[in-house]
């Protein structure tokens, strides 16, 4: 009887029962990640925002200004929703968040253009909302240059040039941009690829730390260790095993969701990313065990794990590149498992280069798994002589 309650499998069974006994585990291990998976992928399902609301102030009201505006409205990403009578009115609409930007055509633009006095038209965007502002700017700038070229082209046509000659004169050198791996500039690809594992890793860090320390808090640690013959390594690995399995299932769900259902680019196929996701799970667990052993207080170790999980989102560099951060934080970024996952994703899914180039990132993730070996003996000591501090 006593024998039956000992060993790896018994602890696994015990852990499953513990997980079932509290809705908190279900909420944080299943609901939270699933919610975020659905949230991010559906939020940005458009890929690139379309029909962003913009306005115009046309103080000129000539054929020239009207032709500029007509062309502007034909852009896919810009939608002119209103014409304002003055600059102040448009600026106020921007402050009310009705539009993200506007075109300002001052009085006399048409007259100046036809009398060759080089009028100036202005583009204003609300850069407090950076993404719509940058996208609007791109359309509006192109439009302004085109408007200018259209006038120049008419002059050249009048002088007898053909289309090819005219363009060769107006824009002798043109740029041809090839965005590797994400030619649609799809924001969903750009953000969800890192956001989904980031949320999962955050939950793993917190749940691992919480579940180990609640044993100490509830005073069940003695029983738990005794089931593993006082072998802390066995106790921890058996306890975390069912969690690893559940988190692997969640990882599988998001991988299938983004690479299978949504068809995000995965140029080296499914397995390199699956490996990366598995290693991210284990690395996060390893890191959490390391912290949980080092700090013998539930709240402080949980706080640190939470901080790590939340901070890993900006510091992984997927939205704001690491090279733009202060040097101290650049160095810090090496301590976050998500950073390596992000680098692997860039190599393996986005760019599809041979795995040997990412070998070092896979190794670094694995290193997090060995981290707890350094201080896990402290956890064993704590399990024997622990007093809960609120």
């Amino acid at each position: 009887m006593a024998n039956k309650k000992q060993g790896f499998l018994a602890i696994v069974r015990r852990e499953i029962l513990r997980m079932q006994s509290r809705p908190l585990y279900g909420l944080s291990m299943i609901f939270a990640p699933l919610f975020c998976f659905v949230f991010f992928t559906s939020l940005m399902h458009e890929g690139l925002p379309q029909s962003l609301p913009a306005g115009v102030v046309d103080e000129d009201n000539t054929t020239v200004s009207r032709s500029i505006l007509r062309n502007l409205d034909s852009y896919q990403q810009t939608e002119i929703i209103k014409q304002y009578s003055s600059f102040a009115e448009a600026r106020e609409a921007m402050q009310r968040n009705e539009i993200y930007g506007f075109f300002y055509i001052p009085k006399g633009t048409g007259a100046k253009a036809s009398s060759q006095q080089q009028p100036v038209i202005s583009i204003y965007t609300n850069a407090a909302y950076l993404i719509p502002s940058s996208l609007l700017y791109r359309d509006m700038k192109t439009m302004a240059v085109m408007a200018s070229a259209a006038v120049g082209r008419e002059v050249l046509f009048a002088k007898g040039a053909n289309m090819d000659q005219a363009m060769g004169f107006l824009q002798p050198i043109q740029m041809d941009m090839h965005p590797i791996g994400n030619p649609w500039l799809n924001y969903n690809v750009y953000l969800s690829n890192t956001m989904l594992p980031a949320v999962l890793a955050l939950m793993i860090l917190m749940v691992t730390c919480f579940s180990i320390h609640t044993e100490l808090k509830d005073g069940t640690a003695g029983e738990w260790l005794q089931m593993a013959d006082d072998n802390i390594l066995k106790a921890v690995s058996a306890k975390l095993f069912p969690q690893t399995m559940l988190f692997s299932l969640m990882a599988l769900i998001y991988l299938v969701l983004i690479y299978g259902y949504l068809q995000f680019p995965a140029h080296n196929g499914f397995w390199p990313m699956f490996l990366a996701a598995e290693l991210l799970i284990l690395a996060s667990q390893g890191f959490a065990v390391f912290i949980a052993s080092a700090i013998p207080s539930l709240r402080w170790s949980l706080s640190l794990c939470t901080l790590w999980g939340v901070l890993s989102i900006p510091i992984s560099g997927f939205s704001f590149p690491v090279m733009g951060m202060p040097a101290a934080l650049q160095a810090m970024s090496y301590l976050f498992p998500l950073r390596y996952y992000f680098l692997i994703y860039v190599d393996q899914a986005l760019n599809g280069i041979p795995m040997v180039y990412s070998a070092w990132f896979y190794t670094a993730l694995t290193a997090f798994l060995i981290l707890p070996l350094l201080d896990i003996s402290l956890l064993r000591k704590a399990a024997h002589e622990y007093t809960y501090l609120p």
Partner: protein, 421 residues
């Protein structure tokens, strides 16, 4: 007297806050340090000198001039000149550069023929800022060089004539409210507001969790010292409002000032907007804190929510392009309106009438969450009917108490009977 009761509760709540290190961390330490960390992280606003490699198949004066000018822009830095695309790709694969500028062999010939020549740019898409830097850097150089080329072709005209010929309508670009067009001024206001709401939720939930634990162990029995749940609720809200008056002043005024971020707000507008935001957050926090069963579970339940919340506010992905469901769901969180209002008041200098929608929404939220927390308090205070396990425990303690009293009564009756006999 209800005012006295309310101040009494407020005092007790403040004492409870100060004596609980865990709550103090959420109410004071996190709001103190976290915004500094974020502002520091995005302090450089954008990326400069993005490393790129050049493949110059033309090797003419024009192509060299183009590359030299690219290298001179603040956006790009040419780290290597490669013999062919294969070599360039190798540099990219080794994570030494994020883009390739490839100049075709026939560039000069095409230009001399008067046709349009094309320069190819290949960009690593791991960060959109690399793309932005490469596109804007190279486009700027090409526009500049195009003008020079046209000027030469238009010899025989005056300088002004040439300029008019090449650019009949000039244009200018003004990025309003975020002069550096960077990350800090756009993301930090959202982070600041979210820090206020989330630390409130975490701190209040931690206190509720502690109370819950003690009640479960029978250490804490809800008394009926205060006749009215409104006074209890009002007293608690007052205490949090006092603490967050200071916290919010630091987070919303001092932090942006420290990092030289745009601060165009006017004091009456800011106060009139932040007070309903804090009230809505406080009652929101109290309402959801009832789901917390113990001290530490607030981490697991509420921290991850910050990530979707920052996106729901529309500061990053535009609200106009959100699916309807998420747009509606976002309305129930104080942070959504808080972020939108504060970003426009602080960064864009909006007045209260410009954020009318947001401030009305926050007042409605204050009312609604006040009602929900009142409803839950009413249940807790007026009767012992608490949901689930707590109900059973409460009934058990009451039964034991009843039994004990009954036992005592029986003894008394027995004694009385004995004496009579």
């Amino acid at each position: 007297m209800w005012i006295k009761d309310m101040l009494d509760v407020c005092g007790k709540e403040l004492r409870k806050t100060v004596s609980d290190v865990g709550v103090l961390v959420f109410f004071i330490v996190v709001p103190l340090l976290y915004p500094l960390l974020y502002a520091y992280l995005y302090g450089r606003e954008t990326v400069r000198e993005v490393p790129v490699v050049a493949v110059d198949d033309c090797r003419s004066t024009t192509s060299r001039e183009f590359l030299r000018k690219c290298d001179a822009t603040p956006d790009l830095k040419i780290v290597s000149y490669c013999a062919d695309m294969e070599e360039a790709r190798n540099v990219i694969h080794n994570h030494k550069a994020y883009g390739i500028i490839q100049i075709p062999r026939e560039l000069d010939k095409t230009l001399a023929d008067g046709h349009q020549a094309t320069i190819n740019l290949y960009c690593d898409m791991s960060g959109l800022l690399y793309y932005k830097a490469m596109l804007s850097g190279c486009t700027m150089v090409s526009l500049d060089m195009n003008r020079d080329i046209q000027m030469v072709r238009l010899s025989g005209m005056s300088d002004h004539e040439k300029e008019v010929m090449t650019m009949p309508i000039e244009n200018e670009y003004v990025t309003m409210f975020n002069p550096a067009n960077g990350f800090q001024a756009f993301l930090i206001p959202a982070v600041l507001i979210l820090v206020l709401q989330q630390t409130l939720v975490l701190g209040v939930a931690m206190m509720a969790g502690t109370e819950h634990e003690r009640r479960r162990k029978g250490e804490l029995i809800l008394g009926d010292e205060y006749s009215n749940p409104i006074t209890v609720l009002g007293g608690k809200a007052l205490a949090y409002l006092l603490v967050y008056g200071f916290t919010a002043t630091y987070v919303l005024c001092v932090v942006p000032w420290l990092f030289n971020m745009p601060q165009l707000w006017q004091l009456p507008t800011l106060v009139a907007f932040i007070v309903p935001f804090l009230l809505a957050s406080i009652f929101f926090a109290i309402s959801i804190s009832f789901f917390v069963r113990d001290r530490e579970s607030c981490f697991l339940l509420f921290v991850f929510v910050s990530v979707p919340l920052i996106f729901m506010s529309g500061i990053s992905w535009p609200t106009s392009n959100m699916p309807t469901f998420w747009r509606f769901l976002a309305q129930i969180f104080p942070s959504t309106h808080g972020v939108n209002g504060f970003a426009r008041i602080g960064t864009a200098g909006a007045l209260l009438q410009d954020v009318r929608y947001e401030s009305i929404a926050l007042w409605i939220q204050t009312a609604v969450y006040f009602m929900t927390s009142l409803f839950i308090y009413e249940r807790l205070y007026r009767s012992d009917k608490m949901p689930g396990v707590e109900f059973v425990i409460a009934m058990r303690t009451r039964m034991r108490k009843d039994l004990r009293e009954a036992g005592r009564d029986i003894k008394v009756i027995g004694r009385k009977l004995k004496s009579k006999l």
